[in-house]
């Protein structure tokens, strides 16, 4: 019995090692779009011009990228395409030159643990866990956590959510959930951080604190981000602007 378990674990470790090879051989994760058009928005998008849709786009690794997107232009759809949780598009999303679909589930999980992180607009907090457990889940998902438990406490303090850490996810306000989601996205290693209206539920002061923390964490990793939002803003020193 224990033999069978051991063998299964060996295979698991072997595959994990293989992901590591893929990760280490690629110094920067490159994200490119190739004439990407969402099927549900096709007619609407083809009637107007866009910096993103239906054209080749290469996101420069390590750059702070802002995509300004009025309502209904497919902002959240784009984020879901970039993070590969929706695939109802024509054209391609290329990661290191390969379309998302060519990666195995295991390889995609490896990338989501090591190379690409996300803050969803709808936050996606586990209601059956406390705020801290939601963050911990992401932190200890990697066999070797990227940051320490103390670092999590420190980030929580900076975003003024220390007092809700032991509260159930069910009872958190939207603003608290958003800050927990931001910390959750920052506890893992990444080269790209994808954010969908990350400050929509925060007041000016908390939004600026969060932006500062995100900028610091990106710099520490030499990582870039892609941020989508409705309006112009000056919270980050953006390298690139796109209009969706």
């Amino acid at each position: 019995m224990s033999m069978a378990v051991a063998t299964a674990m060996d295979i698991f470790h072997l595959e994990k090692a293989l992901y590591w090879d893929i990760i280490k051989n690629t110094s920067f994760m490159q994200i490119q779009l190739d004439n990407l058009v969402p099927v549900p928005l096709r007619d609407k998008i083809l009637q107007r011009s866009s910096d993103i849709w239906n054209r080749p786009v290469t996101f420069t690794p390590g750059s702070f990228t802002k995509i300004k997107a009025p309502s209904g232009t497919g902002k959240t759809t784009l984020v879901h395409y970039l993070y590969h949780i929706r695939t109802d598009y024509t054209g391609q999303v290329l990661v290191n030159g390969q379309p998302w679909a060519s990666y195995s589930k295991g390889a995609i999980a490896g990338m989501r643990q090591e190379q690409i992180s996300v803050i969803f607009q709808d936050l996606r907090i586990f209601e059956q866990l406390t705020a801290l457990e939601n963050i911990e889940l992401k932190r200890v998902m990697n066999a070797q956590p990227y940051c320490s438990a103390e670092k999590v406490k420190e980030m929580a303090a900076r975003l003024n959510v220390t007092h809700v850490l032991n509260q159930s996810g069910r009872t958190l306000s939207y603003g608290e959930r958003q800050r927990v989601a931001i910390i959750r996205a920052l506890v893992q290693p990444f080269q790209w951080l994808i954010m969908d209206e990350p400050f929509s539920h925060l007041d000016e002061d908390n939004a600026n604190r969060a932006a500062q923390l995100i900028a610091e964490e990106c710099k520490a990793r030499k990582a870039g981000f892609i941020l989508t939002d409705l309006d112009n803003d000056t919270r980050f020193a953006y390298d690139t602007y796109y209009n969706l």
């Binding site: 019995m1 069978a4 378990v5 299964a8 674990m9 698991f12 595959e15 993070y83 949780i85 589930k105 295991g106 999980a109 490896g110 990338m111 989501r112 643990q113 996606r124 586990f126 059956q128 866990l129 457990e133 911990e136 889940l137 992401k138 200890v140 998902m141 438990a149 959750r184 893992q188």
Partner: protein, 399 residues
């Protein structure tokens, strides 16, 4: 103390939802396992029982086989001989471990007792390869030029004389030692050629009912006094591990051969026990299949009921493999516990049965057989593999 990843998963993926199914599956698996183990153990015990009763010291038995003499065959000696095809067929049977011819003399033999005993008789010799003889003796050898022939008598022959003939005729009974001490005058002849030897009894055989001489003597004498043609044997001897093997009894019956029926009398009992054991084992297997089905339904239910949670976990970067390992970790201790409980129960049953049977002078091992333990392990591994395949399938379906 921060919770581990699996502890957090435990809060998200509730396995309690299908508790009744899990209990059914576990119960089914337990009963299936007990039935299977009992079938295997009973089979082993019965084998052991037969072998113990029949050969206390040896693991094999020897059967002398000949064709049944029927009225139609009388007067045609050739009909009782084995043809080369029949011999080849017998040799390739799975129950035949070793095979030997019983060679008869092709010359006349007379024996006379020494001194005043006034004992004179025509007789015959046969020989079999040494490995089939149960008398181990240094004197059992002969080389051309030796004047003394070692002879092995059947034990039954001495008994017949002592308790049948001697008592009724008022003759003295003779001990084995006395017989061994008496030299006999053995004369072998063919036509005008005769040669005299001293015959010496070196042992008594329970296995072969014949007057045995060494193969070397038989070959020499048949060469010198015989017809020169190698005669077909009408009796052969085989070594077999299990004389109660129903296949062996069936074969002998089909071919019209006979042997010492006493030795194969257990074959019928054994066949009945085999059928009972097979039926128990069959139900065990059927139940095991159902238990696996219920396990599969339970796994499907757990995964379906946590579909949204599992999808979010995968979105956040949890590898499908991590989820599989987490779920298997919930089940594996259960399989092992069921395996151990079933094994303990069967071991208890075996111990109890051995005590009960010992009171009736029937001895079986107090401990379960190695094969029973291996079977338990095999079932646990099988359940593990089947469930792992299921977990992988259902997780891949929703992630």
């Amino acid at each position: 103390m921060m919770p581990s990843f699996y502890q957090l998963l435990k809060k998200i993926i509730q396995t309690g939802i299908g508790a009744s199914r899990l209990i059914m599956a576990a119960g089914g698996l337990g009963i299936a396992m007990i039935l299977l183990l009992i079938a295997i153990q009973a089979h082993t015990d019965f084998d052991q029982l037969l072998n113990n009763q029949q050969n206390a010291n040896e693991s094999a038995d020897f059967l002398v086989i000949n064709k049944k003499i029927t009225n139609a065959m009388m007067g045609q000696n050739a009909k009782s001989e084995f043809t080369p095809a029949e011999i080849a067929d017998l040799q390739k049977q799975p129950f035949t471990e070793a095979f030997g011819f019983i060679t008869s003399n092709q010359y006349k033999v007379t024996a006379a007792a020494p001194g005043d005993l006034h004992f004179y008789t025509d007789m015959f010799f046969e020989s079999v390869p040494d490995s089939f003889i149960d008398v181990k003796n240094d004197e059992w050898k002969w080389a051309p030029g030796d004047n003394t022939i070692p002879i092995i008598l059947p034990n039954d022959f001495l008994n017949l004389y002592n308790f049948g003939f001697a008592l009724s005729q008022g003759l003295p009974q003779i001990s084995q030692e006395t017989v061994k001490a008496l030299p006999m005058k053995v004369t072998i002849s063919q036509g005008l050629m005769t040669q005299e030897f001293t015959g010496r009894i070196v042992g008594f055989s329970d296995r072969i009912s014949s007057f045995l001489v060494p193969v070397s003597f038989m070959d020499w004498a048949n060469g010198k006094f015989g017809t020169g043609q190698a005669a077909s044997p009408s009796r052969v001897i085989i070594k077999t591990k299990d004389p109660s093997n129903p296949v062996l009894a069936e074969y002998l019956k089909d071919k019209g051969y006979t042997t010492n029926q006493d030795k194969i009398k257990y074959s019928k009992t054994k066949r009945i026990v085999q059928i009972i054991v097979s039926v128990i084992g069959f139900f065990g297997v059927i139940l095991l299949v159902f238990a696996l089905l219920v396990f599969s339904m339970f796994i499907q239910l757990v995964i379906a009921s946590c579909k949204k949670e599992i999808q979010l976990l995968v979105t956040l970067g949890t590898a499908p493999r991590q989820l599989q390992r987490y779920l298997m970790r919930q089940f594996v201790p259960l399989y092992i516990a069921i395996g151990i409980v079933a094994l303990l129960l069967v071991a208890g049953l075996q111990w109890w049965a051995s005590v009960q049977l010992a009171a009736h002078e029937v001895f079986i091992s107090k401990w379960i057989a190695v094969s029973t333990g291996c079977a338990a392990l095999l079932v646990v591994v099988l359940v593990y593999i089947v469930n792992r395949v299921n977990v992988r399938k259902y997780i891949n379906a929703i992630s």
